[in-house]
């Protein structure tokens, strides 16, 4: 995974009040194999008439999505993140995130940034007024610097930050502790033998 440092990019604002993963990618597309085609599936059912923000010429090439509504609630489908990635989006800014979406995003190098609604309103207004002005998302410093130079700090837990900034796969973290896992497993199997249903 590419490490996430400072992302300087333009932002596309999305005005949906609750962005559940059924909106991000409808279930009927879940059968498709992962690929560049997922870009077209992002918000598929909202994009029928070409007026949706993602399809407006001024937002082409945006790498940051700013969502007025909480983002990624509902189904655990990781395809929601695949669709965002395929579309070239590397960061989503929203007032709140669905828990599994957040975990999925981190594991795909997409940074979820939670900001207060009034700060998001400001970012949305800026993106609408000056779509070509870039903002900076600085993960190491945990702040967003908007097109006017105003700073918005955000919180992220150490684990998530570690995975993203180092481009680390949680598997390597676990495998570094393989001995501890193996010892735990032996003790657990011995203490709770009935908990392995098919022993």
């Amino acid at each position: 995974m590419t490490p996430f440092g400072v992302l300087r990019a333009r932002a596309v604002p999305i005005a949906i009040s609750i962005v559940d993963t059924d909106q991000i990618i409808p279930a009927r597309f879940l059968r498709r194999p992962r690929g560049p085609g997922h870009a077209r599936l992002l918000f598929h059912d909202r994009r029928a008439d070409g007026s949706f923000a993602l399809d407006r010429a001024e937002f082409a090439g945006a790498e940051i999505l700013v969502s007025a509504g909480e983002f990624g609630t509902g189904s655990a489908r990781e395809q929601a993140v695949w669709a965002l990635s395929a579309h070239g989006l590397r960061c989503v800014i929203a007032p709140r995130f669905g828990a599994v979406f957040r975990e999925n995003a981190i594991r795909n190098g997409v940074l979820p940034v939670a900001l207060a609604p009034e700060r998001i309103a400001r970012l949305v207004a800026l993106a609408e007024a000056r779509p070509d002005a870039a903002m900076a998302v600085d993960l190491p410093a945990q702040r967003v610097v908007d097109a006017d130079g105003a700073e918005h700090g955000f919180a992220i837990d150490t684990f998530e930050k570690l995975l993203l900034t180092e481009g680390l796969d949680e598997m390597s973290l676990t495998l570094r502790n393989a001995d501890a896992v193996a010892a735990f497993e032996r003790a657990y199997d011995a203490r709770y033998p009935w908990m392995a249903p098919r022993r």
Partner: protein
Amino acid sequence: MAAHESRTPRTMLDKIWDRHAILAMHGRTLLYADLNLVHEGSRHAFAAIGQEGLAVRRPDRTAAFADHYVPTAGRPRIADATVAEIVALLADNARRHGILHLGMDDPRQGIVHVAAPELGLSLPGMLLVCADSHVATHGALAALTKPIGASELRHVLATQTVWQSKPRAMRIVVDGALAPGVGAKDLVLHLIGRIGANGAIGHAVEYAGAAVRALGMDGRFTLCNMSIEMGAASGFVAPDDTTLGYIDGRPYAPRGEAWDRAVTDWRRLPTDDGAGFDRELALSAADIAPTVTWGTSPEDAAPIDARVPDPVPIADPARRGRVERGLAYMGLKPGTPLASIAVDRVFIGSCTNARLDDLRAAAAIVEGRRAVVPSWVVPGSKLVKQQAEAEGLDRIFIAAGMEWRDPGCSMCVGVNGDLMAAGQRCAATSNRNFEGRQGPGARTHLMSPAMAAAAAVTGRLSDVRTLVRGRT
């Protein structure tokens, strides 16, 4: 072992958490998972470990269920070639890795959250993971659960562990008794309506109180199932005689001496007296009426005798906007009595409400009446189907003109092709009423099986209590 014997009162969450904790670093705990339940959506994760040359660490702690994509009619053929391939791939992956596989032709097949408990795979005190957000269902058996995505599933397959931060502990106590005609689905919809779709974010919810204790296992599954719809990380009920009675004798449940040891252990799982919760909520069961949703979030829930709300007085502009959009999508006008809304079809099914008690409740309403709109009954598993047929429930549904189908997720999510047309309105016993959930433009009202049955025989959202009274 000292931690297990410590005198400090602990919640059930603490107890289950502690016994699975391997180590902690970077603000997370590495937890050992007892059981990993997979379905057809697991193909990406299996492909990933295959490419990396990794093995499934514990095939004996993994089980595979064909449920999301399987057809619910016309078996054993699968008409759609892509779907056939997806279903076959699960069987291949399971065979290759030595994993128990409940395929479409297996007599124990069913929706993962219905069939795994039936098989005795899900047990109290487990940390149980599944790449599906409704894994909280198994909390009814006092398991701590965690929904995972495809990448995390790859990690679980290879390591049998998850990195997690501990949720906060919340207790929801429901005292009193539910009124006749009111069940677990009404309780949980009422609860979500009250605390909101974000009401339990970051919390593991322990459901307690007389009304919860009085629920049978099927009702507890329904209650825990929808924990995710209030934002909870997990939801569970402490083990009691109801729990143990359900598990005893199931195919993969411990037996003999192992059973005795397990029961001794499980009896120690309930929250100790005096243990503290980060949040507590008390509710009176008697206040709950049959409840339905009118909007596009499960929190848009109201008693059946209420009216479609007016968004104008809602102070919070974000919520007002959401409700306005929801009503536009649902094609509803403020002030309309909920009990006057006509439906185009009825879906009784899903991991929320397709167990035997659910089908019994629906059949009790349908018996001797005719469904006036197309209505599907999709049992949650083959075992449920067989038990229902043994009781003659299938004949009641069929006599009423309803379709009696084969088990699977079906119209809950529609990935197998069971979808509704745009603009159609459905009375559904599933768990999500999001825009497009049952097909592009499809409108979903969530409710209990008895209420869905009432909608089937009246053609509109109806107060099931009036139909029960009509009987006597």
